[in-house]
Amino acid sequence: MKRLKKIIIICGHYGSGKTNFAVNLAVDLRKQGYPVTLTDMDIVNPYFRSSDHSEMLDSKGIKVIAPVYANTNLDAPAIPAEMYSAFDRSGYSLFDMGGDDAGATVMGQFFRNITGKEYDMLYVINGKRAMIENVHDAAEMLYSIESASRLKATYIVNNTHLKDYTDAKTILESMEYAEKVSEAVNLPILCTTYPVSMIKEQEISATGGIITQHLYPVEVFVKTPWEVN
Amino acid sequence: MAVVFQKPQALLDVPFTYCPGCTHGIIHRLVAETIDELGIEGHTVGVAPVGCSVMNYNFFACDMVQAPHGRAPAVATGLKRAIPENIVFTYQGDGDLAAIGTAETVHAAVRGENITVVFVNNAIYGMTGGQMAPTSLPNQVTQTTPYGRDTSYSGHPIRVCEMLATLEGTALAQRVSVDNVKNVQNAKKAIKKAFTYQIEKRGFSIVEVLSTCPTNWGLDAQESLQWLRDNMIPYYPLGVYKDVGGTTK
């Protein structure tokens, strides 16, 4: 996969799989030996957020910064002081933004902290996700995220999946969707993910289709409480 | 000889349940005459409040919906948004509109909800037997202000038209009275204007009608009208507080 800038912002539609991708990327970068900070910027969503995985991330030596009341019973979007310094940390600093333009709006206030710095903003898409499953909507969504966050995306991450129904065909077929979105918004595709616990890379090639994108295996961290290993 | 005055068609031939001399009956008639003159009965839906006039759904010939206490403007909002070509009015008393239903009233006006509100202010809770209303006057004796309304303790009366006139969504806010023939005729004009504004889609219109409660005021019908003139009109001056289509006080 292409080498990314030190500041990595992950954005996308609600439920496109931003959080799961962010956690995977953080774990990978840490494995490569870099210091990694993962900031949970989602103050919109009450559940299923990257800070849910603090313990695991912590154990791997990844620093997690979360909103003050994340995972509590209080519904107040308070930004901790630490978040302001997250842009100046050594190593990789990942920001898991909230979904949609609503979640991206939170990023707007950090505009000054980012100005002048190099960053990558990854737009996570899922071709099976209602409301962005057509290319036009996926493009519109990116534009509203960009305008709310005052930042420009640099790559597309094709994170198409259908939870338990995901198979090799789902992944292969999603590449065409990703190409179209890529064309529509004029951004390169960083990778196409696949859930490594469910599908092997060979199975995707075995479908007979042409793999045009970098395949990136992801573990499924974001789970419901009844999904046990 | 021609009939120059008779019961309007929009009133059913059902005797009112109000006390003798209670001016609800006059106000009902003005609403019904308006509906007749505008020819809108077939597509008018009224919303009845909780209070003495709760049963007005039996009196008006148009379709009627009875609302929870204070919620008439919200119910009317639902009716109007469901069928915008219908004419929707609420008929509410002071407790209903200006105490429990303050939020619903204010926000219907805030939205410029295209409905007409007929607000009957008689400065007392009639239905429950004469308790303090939000519009009860300073020092007014009621069942729950037995020593007179002490404004330092129970607060001051609320002037609804003045308050709603400050809102952008209000098209018409006018206070009238039904204490004499001339005022009744003015009240009629105001009510008709309020309905007309709805037809013209101008937004929220409210006509506050100063009214009596002989039973709970402890006065006969004529004394009640005099009390209204002497006490209510000075506190609640008649007039147009907002009119998007004309002169405003």
């Binding site: - | 000889m1 120059v4 309007p8 006390c19 009956g25 023939v181 005729q185 002989p214 004529q222």
Partner: protein, 68 residues
């Protein structure tokens, strides 16, 4: 020649019409009680009626019809 016709069955004897009549030709019946138990209003001198409808305008029970 005008006429105020009072529906005695609807009248509650509140007297607002009596007070409103500029010709003072209405009274509450001194000797009659209607089915509701009220003394209904009545016109004492129909010939003086101008058909101004003041009585009807003030009647809270819509009990008066006026012809002219």
């Amino acid at each position: 020649m005008a006429k105020a016709i009072i529906d005695e069955t609807k009248c509650k004897g509140c007297g607002l019409c009596v007070a409103a009549c500029p010709r003072k030709i209405l009274v509450l019946s001194p000797d009659k009680i209607n089915s509701k138990g009220y003394r209904p209003a009545q016109v004492v001198d129909q010939s003086k009626c101008t058909g101004c409808a003041s009585c009807a305008i003030m009647c809270p029970d819509v009990a008066i019809t006026v012809e002219r």
